[in-house]
Point group: C2
Chain length 187, copies 2
């Protein structure tokens, strides 16, 4: 019964509001205003701001990304970094991510949704890359998998989101992939 175009307009407005003012400052009124929609239309679909955002974040998690499989750990990492780096360059992502993360530090439901989204995205791909390298015998089995995941995901996130470096120097991703592959092989 609910009109799908209205629903979609609301979803889009949430993304924009999230990016421009953040979760805490975001209001239902503001979302409806930006979507060109009555508050009623929003409340008819979601009970609260939290439900609304949780629903959207959870929807993001569903998209299972294909893992690269070049036959070499370093090249797999390189490809992963290029995809991730391009995603993080979007202002939408780099504004929203730390915001959701800050909210997750306070709200267990939000934390669960964000972690699930991470696991299905970045961490999932990284994990597949690791398993492939292990089967290939390129890295040792039995090491701390979580540590390896941290080594893979940490540096680029730190650089892009924490340090907030506007753009990466040429050759950065390649050098990062090489260094990370070395680190994991040394585990």
């Amino acid at each position: 019964m609910l009109r799908e175009d209205v629903t979609e307009a609301i979803r889009a407005a949430v993304f924009e509001e999230l990016a421009s003012v953040g979760y805490a400052r975001m209001s239902i009124e503001g979302i409806a205003r930006r979507a060109g929609v009555g508050k009623t239309a929003v409340y008819r679909r979601w009970r609260s701001k939290l439900h609304l955002v949780l629903d959207i974040v959870s929807a993001l998690a569903v998209q299972g990304l294909p893992a690269p499989d070049t036959g070499s750990l370093e090249d797999d990492l390189r490809l992963l970094y290029e995809v991730t780096s391009r995603a993080l360059r979007h202002p939408l992502a780099s504004q929203i991510l730390p915001d959701l993360q800050a909210e997750a530090a306070r709200n267990p439901d939000m934390a669960e949704a964000v972690q699930k989204a991470l696991r299905d995205g970045q961490e999932g791909v990284a994990s597949k890359i690791l398993v492939a390298a292990e089967q290939r015998g390129e890295i040792r089995a039995g090491h701390d998998d979580e540590l390896a995941l941290d080594l893979i995901s940490g540096p680029l996130y730190w650089r892009s989101v924490v340090i907030r470096s506007p753009k990466l120097p040429k050759g950065y991703l390649g050098a990062l992939a090489r260094a990370t592959a070395e680190a994991i092989k040394a585990l």
Copy 2:
């Protein structure tokens, strides 16, 4: 003329408010309430919430931490990680950090203050460790220093703040230091 104990009570209240509700939701009224102080006392010292928080964050940046100097890159990193890890275990830090970071994504002044605090803290120590290792000939000169800094700081931040792992398995920091040292030597 302003009473120092009142000023200190306000500063402490800001930390607590920041940790419990976050920057965006934090209000001057709430701070004054928690500090057991009139709003007047706050406005007499700072013009706005932003000035207040910027002042406090900037004050944090001043504390120059001593860099470890064991004569080995891996051991230096290990010590750095132990200090950092202990700091991040404090709920205060791990709640406030992502929050300030999210705010920094929207406010250039906040971004500058946070980056300065980082540079004077974590990044500063890491940088000194790198220079020492370079002089020792343990790592090559002329590589991308910023990449090395990302390799050092990224993984532990990712694990502690993003993944929000409650506690690290035994031996994690040691293995991380070893792997990171390998990665940097491979640059």
